[in-house]
Symmetry: C2
Subunit: 261 residues, 2 copies
């Protein structure tokens, strides 16, 4: 399996060293070219590369939908993704303004410009889900996470409806797994406004901004959210749940989408 590489390592245990075979998670550099121009290199797990490319461009605001894409070609051996957009202007500057979260505009910290870029549009969704269903989905995510069990080196993320996992990715980068989900959803015209996103990892501001940009109403983590992600959830009326494990979870915002029965 290309996600995992076999290595000979020295294992020290109880004061003795022995040479053993072990598995480590791959970290694959994917360089995205837009209209022939080198754009960015992402370090990721080597699957769903087309989806990662599209999801990253959507999450970073470079494109809004698949109709803007003329073609995408993945050269897996080289680690290159070639994207042709119908718009032939330079996107490098656009990314710089986002990625490094810095601009020359000089009014206040640009971090808040990233928030501004979301506009004032609240999450638009009528989804309501039972408590037990959320906990059930969290359990399913955990059962799916085989790479983590084998290598300890990835985070898993799943897009779900109320009953089951629809799309699942494990990746060395937390951000990549949500970008892969967003990319797959965009390319298959999947409506995300009645879906649930579940992550094994922490929910930072960057994670929740990606989810809100795609209008996903319920974001669940088996781990902790940051305070800033809670603030952003409140601002955009997203439901944010943390520590969803076994028979319990913490609801940080948006409990009106949760049903006790």
């Amino acid at each position: 399996m290309e996600h995992i590489k076999k290595l000979n390592i020295n294992r020290i245990k109880d004061g003795k060293m022995e040479l053993v075979e072990d598995f480590v998670i791959a970290e694959y550099p994917l360089t995205i070219f837009i209209n022939g121009q080198e754009f960015i290199t992402l370090l990721c797990s080597p699957e769903g590369l087309k989806y990662l490319t599209v999801g990253f461009l959507v999450s970073e605001g470079i494109i809004k939908n698949k109709d803007q894409i003329e073609s995408i070609t993945i050269d897996k051996d080289k680690g290159h993704a070639y994207v042709e957009l119908y718009d032939k202007s330079s996107f490098t500057e656009k990314l710089f303004g986002k990625r490094t979260i810095t601009t020359g505009c000089g009014k206040g910290t640009v971090f808040y410009n990233v928030l501004d870029s979301l506009g004032t549009k609240q999450i638009d969704s009528s989804l309501k889900v039972g408590w037990d269903k959320i906990l059930n989905l969290s359990r399913k995510l955990n059962e799916h996470s085989t790479l983590f069990r084998e290598t300890g080196g990835v985070h898993s993320c799943a897009l779900c409806d109320s009953d089951d996992i629809l799309i699942f990715y494990e990746d060395v980068g937390r951000h990549n797994s949500i970008d892969k989900i967003v990319g797959q959803a965009v390319l298959s015209d999947l409506d995300l406004s009645d879906k649930i996103l579940i992550s094994s990892g922490r929910i930072s501001s960057e994670m929740i901004i990606k989810a809100i940009k795609s209008n996903i109403p319920i974001i669940v983590s088996r781990s902790a959210p940051t305070e800033l992600s809670v603030k952003i959830a409140k601002q955009f009326n997203a439901t944010l749940i943390g520590f969803a494990r076994a028979n319990r979870m913490n609801v940080y915002n948006g409990q009106e989408r949760l049903l006790s029965k």
Copy 2:
């Protein structure tokens, strides 16, 4: 404690919901200005901000030592770090070439340019450390990690000599904690070539590149390394240890620095 914010949340447990007070980890936006020009915003835990600023600039190759710094002022309320360098040229382009790992030079993937920027200089160190000392330091790191126990939202990282922890940080970002350590070491003229870096989190390529840039010979994780970080450790002759917990650890490279007694 400003690292942690108290919130009222709804806790659902065993089918019942109750309003409780809970703690979440702060995620603080720090915007760095260089020579008056806005440069980048880092999302971090709000301590060691001066060290973070210096460590980030060193890790990203913007500066090499503290003598290049004219002054640093932190405005904690605004979340701004103002850095004056003696060199008044623009650094924005320099960062873009690194941060987004993209350049216009067009020869191969730029990721490898980042590796190239390390040069061919191997880790230069005569440090040797006993197995038991490494495991002891890993245990100490775990005991220090109070924020993690309280909020589950941070990674901890420590710079150690053979016997004890010298510098310790917990941060919402794995990269920030190593940047804070590097910054503190640079400002206090600490030689890192006989030190050990221990992290609670995974060792990705970016993490090990930062450590190698500072000539730290032994990098230890309580968690997993990626395959790429193992490759980089081999290339630069760094000692890389993973899963250092209780009575065992995996040595991925550089066992010649480890002593059984």
